[in-house]
Symmetry: C2
Subunit: 713 residues, 2 copies
């Protein structure tokens, strides 16, 4: 959507009611056919070929969901009385170990045909059909299409950290509904960490009694989550992170620790350093019983053992561990961890599972049937594949960086230089720490050539949501709708890269997600109302121009005194990416490129700028009464100044004038102040170099207004 | 809130963070104590005395809900490790047949004590505690209070018509969550009607196979709904409406009908007239087996058999029925129905249930253990009580009239003249038909004196939501938040009648309801976005000034050609009552009463009027592109004209001028055009006398603007 003409065409298409195709992920192959299929009370689905109860439930669920989306009264599976069928589903056979998710879907005015090899393919086809249906005042209809679809990657995952903030069962189930809609197939639960152990163990009850603050999943909860996910074509992969990130285990079982106890819940130095003692046989006996219990509880064939971020400090300080290392001839902590990983591998294998670990487990001698989840860099991904491991790529897909969907969308899972940082930025960022364990230059590398066989080992990608700053109330908003764009990256062909088209479809999926029950918009609004305490209108206008600062900028402020607890800051209520700002940016590009039109776009840009300009006084009045708003006053003033500048720039443009140099300098200084925080790739690097604003927000409209300003340079 | 001073105090209280008490229904007795109880991670609940699994689930659910509301990490029931308990719950014993819902709740800074005789009382107390908690940026806390609470009425019901539009299971469960929050205890499901039979019968499978269009509850669904409701202190009362409203039964079983079949699904003359044949023994055998099956499926001690609106046309046309009446010596259709009711009574009694019926079953000789649900008028309520029947009052609580919460709130269940229509209005409305079966003067009467014993027979009230115009997507919006005001009428003392205070609390409960998952605001917004098709902002501004026309005005337009189907009209997306308009009305009263202040109120009124005035052009542009908006153009113009008039009136007032007579006349003509549609009591009568606008909307802000105009008269 780089120019006004394209935007005008799009607006015209929407206005005239031409049916857009809003499927996300985009199908592998699709052809438009003439006409459309109307969704009305004649709807009736039939299943021929193979069928089972889960498939019947899926079709019934589809009918219910489509009924809710369209307001039409829809039957589920056809009654046996010979009434005509409008959605004909044919499933060739039952599901197999090597899941086949492919399907063909033909939508014609006369009805729909959906064919798949397995029930999983039917599920994927139904998700497509649901999204295809557009609802307008004229009724509900899907454009006629012929689709042949299959996933690019077999592993399309989402990791949720339920350890740092507990996520109640219902909140997780809702995310699984969203996952089904965008064809994700792996829910990876990070079930234990320094902060808590979140699953009931009958073998080791003190794990939750002492290490969960009472917030954990019972085994019945887990069975419920797993069954719910299975019905929706989603595998549940459990992670129990060892040997580091284990402080919560050691509160109840200090005898497993490298450093003598006692250990306590809460924030202290042990959070980073507490580690299991690899020299004790007792540790392996403990893990054998625990992993045996958990392997039975979680039916998936894989089992994630973590393995990341071992600082080694407690190992270095323990005489008995040092003696053990000497005896075994281990030169450093990495060799000791490799020994530990090998022992754990035997346990996991004994319980019939394939082991997965974060990329720190990648050491010479790691058995090749271990799956490596690359997170520190695409360099690690390449290295794992070269060593012959199946790999899951996560580095470019960290949702807790609160970056725009487009940022992640540009990263390809098999691109070995996918962090997208330029050589110049690299040079600048050398030595910059990223978290406590590494520097930028260590994790980002140039492209590493992989053979086709090595590329084939990249099984897919997994987005990760770490929950230091994510409460259950924020969960939906930190995941959706951005997760849908990443899901497309994992499912659709590599060639699907049109970001403007992605954003267009994302807006439609955003509504679909809300229709099926996701609460990203609802909770954001409720949190904002709570924050605004009676000044909803003015705070709402302000909030729609900002986004939380990017990368780990907010994390670095966590220990600041007076900072509101998680879930109470304005930055918590604000979506990571405001789709209305993206839309504004597209309009601005159009307005900046052509002073003649389309007039309605220019009018809309002017209207938005006017609202922002006029909000300053009301915001100031609100802040006079509501102390929580005061830290945002300078930013509210900057917003008004930028809005004035944008309006002035439009006037210069209409008068065919160039802006005075002095004016330009002033305005660009102001946009520059916010630009880095709001940009994506650069922001990753820069946000850790700069002091973070106490508002924890950036004026996300600043770069758009800068476009207007630069247009009259 | 009749003047500016009170409003200023309220605003100041909110701004300064003084803790408001937002409990709804208002408790029977409450005393404020100094201080507040902070909700944080120290939260821990304990249960002493009697406990069962359902009670433990309730406490766990409470902790989860409060955790979601506050963003705090809360435990459920205390672990047995002696950690301190902040919410101490004491339950004296198990539930009994005569349910005792009373409780005492003492909230102090040190913690909370909740005591009840039965688990039901604990549930009610937890609902109060949930509402007491205010969440602000400063944290979550409940004001310290001492509460002694018990319901005024034992029957506090909500009837949902799931026959005319099917409501899927999940939609119902969500409403039960809302019911628990506002302490309603009876969910009455209207399960069959002319349009459909909605419960699986294994005895008579053609009831759903031929009479449900495939949309019905399986018996497992029903068990799930009943168990879910029971856990939340809500009884589920099934209704199978006989002998009228039975067309859907007769599609599969025409042999039961008074008129020979065949019968077909869909809209035809049989919808109103199809009736069972009371002269056939086969009918009673059929009902015996069906009611036996359903009596076992629904555990509640009551069983509703409908009995309303029998037209008698098919009975009159049937020679065999006429012969039967002659043989029995029945003078008219009412005696025939009384005979039928008597036979059904024996069947219901045989299956161990207490029979309930709509007030048409009230005939001499009706056994006094039959409960009468009065709907046609408070006159019928009085008559039933005088005849010795337990009565449930529903007439004043029809939610499908889409009236404001305040209208229903003013009606007392034991007020025998509670329709609230003045003598003058009565005179005017004489002979006006209300629906097909009665006229206004027949249903409304002056007060009928009842003895205390007779008054004691009024067991409570039940709101009714008939679903001719209510799709599943609209369900939440047509129920909430208005239902909360009615729930207060059923629970709280008769003396709780302050409407302004009710509306203040309603706004808080509205958010609570959304927080626990109700979708009234979310679905309304999604429907509006769908309708606006890209013009969300301008349509949104317009939509916030309108409400659907009242009473059955929209129903009378159902057969108009070109009318959008249910769920697709702008009037469907619009809440029955817009709380922002009520708030505007309060501000206007304040601004009209005092030209000196408070300035922020006057500013806000001006700002709203300005936005409405300026929306006209943008709405016209949108309507040029989106045909669905065109019918609303005249109303959009009227809105702008009224907004201009309001602004002019404020200027007159500030200049201490009286408005010119000519100006006044013009403006009042415009407000008058919309006033009747928007008013409540008068609207009930007037809306059926007048032609209904094709927009099916009224400008609900017109009466508020009229206040400004009249202030400068």
């Amino acid at each position: 959507m780089k120019n006004a003409a394209v935007l005008a065409v799009l607006i015209a298409a929407v206005v005239r009611g031409q049916a857009p195709v809003n499927v996300m992920p985009a199908p592998a192959r699709m052809m438009r056919l003439p006409g459309e299929w109307t969704v009305d009370a004649t709807f009736r689905a039939s299943i021929t070929g193979y069928r089972d109860e889960s498939l019947e439930r899926a079709v019934q669920r589809f009918a219910t969901a489509l009924s809710a989306k369209t307001g039409a009264r829809l039957d589920g599976v056809a009654a046996p009385d010979g009434k005509s069928t409008t959605v004909r589903i044919r499933c060739a056979g039952p599901g197999r170990d090597a899941a086949n998710e492919s399907y063909t879907l033909v939508v014609r005015s006369a009805g729909v045909e959906l064919k798949a090899q397995e029930p999983l393919g039917v599920l994927r086809g139904l998700a497509t059909l649901y999204e295809l249906v557009n609802v307008t005042t004229a009724g509900a209809a899907a454009p006629a299409v012929s689709i042949e679809d299959r996933p690019r990657f077999e592993w399309r995952g989402l990791m949720i950290d339920v350890a740092r903030h507990f996520m109640p069962v219902d909140d997780l189930l809702r995310q699984i509904d969203g996952m089904e809609m965008v064809k994700l197939n792996v829910l990876h639960l990070h079930l234990s960490d320094a902060q808590a152990f979140r699953v009931e163990s009958k073998v080791w009850p003190k794990l939750t009694a002492d290490g969960s603050e009472g917030l954990f999943y019972t085994q019945d909860d887990i069975r419920r989550i797993v069954a719910y996910a299975q019905d929706r074509g989603v595998r549940v992969v459990p992670e129990f992170d060892v040997p580091g990130h284990t402080k919560a285990w050691l509160v109840g079982y200090p005898e497993l620790a490298a450093k003598p106890g006692p250990y306590h819940m809460g924030a202290d130095a042990d959070v980073a350093h507490a580690t299991l003692d690899p020299s004790k046989e007792q540790v392996y006996e403990f893990l054998d019983r625990l992993f045996g219990e958990m392997a039975a509880l979680f039916p998936d064939r894989t089992f994630h053992i973590g393995g990341d971020e071992v600082t080694g400090r407690h190992w270095a300080a323990s005489p008995s561990i040092q003696a053990f290392m000497k005896e075994k001839g281990f030169a450093d902590q990495h060799q000791l961890q490799a020994y530990f990983t090998g022992r754990v591998y035997e346990i996991v294998r004994k319980h019939g599972k394939t082991m997965i670990g974060w990329d720190e487990i990648l050491r010479p001698g790691l058995p090749t049937d271990v799956v490596v989840q690359a997170w520190r860099s695409s360099k690690m991904m390449a290295r794992a594949a070269i060593d012959g491991h199946a790999v899951i790529e996560s580095g470019p897909y960290y949702l807790d960086f609160v970056l725009p969907a487009g940022y992640h969308y540009r990263m390809d899972p098999v691109d070995t230089a996918s962090f997208g940082i330029s050589a110049a930025e690299m040079e600048m960022a050398k030595g910059t720490p990223i978290g406590p364990y590494m520097t930028v230059d260590k994790v980002v590398s140039g492209p590493t050539p992989l053979t086709p066989a090595q590329q084939g080992l990249i099984k897919g990608g997994e987005a990760a949501l770490w929950s230091e700053l994510v409460t259950a109330e924020m969960l939906d908003g930190r995941l959706w709708p951005r997760m849908a764009a990443i899901a497309e990256r994992f499912w659709s062909p590599k060639t699907v890269v049109d970001e403007d088209d992605m954003y267009r479809r994302l807006a439609a999926i955003d509504r679909d997600l809300e229709t099926i029950g996701l609460r990203h918009r609802t909770n954001s609004r409720l949190m904002l109302e709570r924050f605004a305490a009676g000044y909803g209108a003015t705070v709402g206008i302000f909030a729609e121009t900002v986004e939380p600062i990017k990368f780990y900028g907010r994390h670095s402020r966590r220990s600041q005194p007076g900072r509101p607890p998680e879930g109470r800051a304005l930055a918590d209520a604000t979506p990571p990416e405001n789709l209305a700002i993206r839309q504004f940016e597209r309009e601005v590009r159009s307005a900046a490129a052509n002073r003649y039109g389309p007039q309605e776009v220019r009018d809309h840009v002017r209207a938005m700028l006017t609202v922002w300009r006029d909000n300053e006084d009301r915001f100031a009045e609100a802040a006079a009464e509501n102390a929580a708003l005061r830290p945002f006053l300078p930013m509210s003033r900057d917003l008004a100044a930028l809005a004035r500048a944008g309006l002035e720039a439009m006037t210069f443009q209409e008068q065919r004038k160039r802006a005075p140099a002095r004016w330009l300098e002033t305005q660009l200084a102001l946009t520059g102040k916010y630009k880095d925080q709001a940009s994506a790739a650069a922001g990753v690097v820069y946000s850790i170099l700069r002091p973070q604003p106490a508002t924890e927000l950036t004026l996300a409209v600043a770069p758009s207004i800068e476009i207007l300003i630069k247009a009259v340079k």
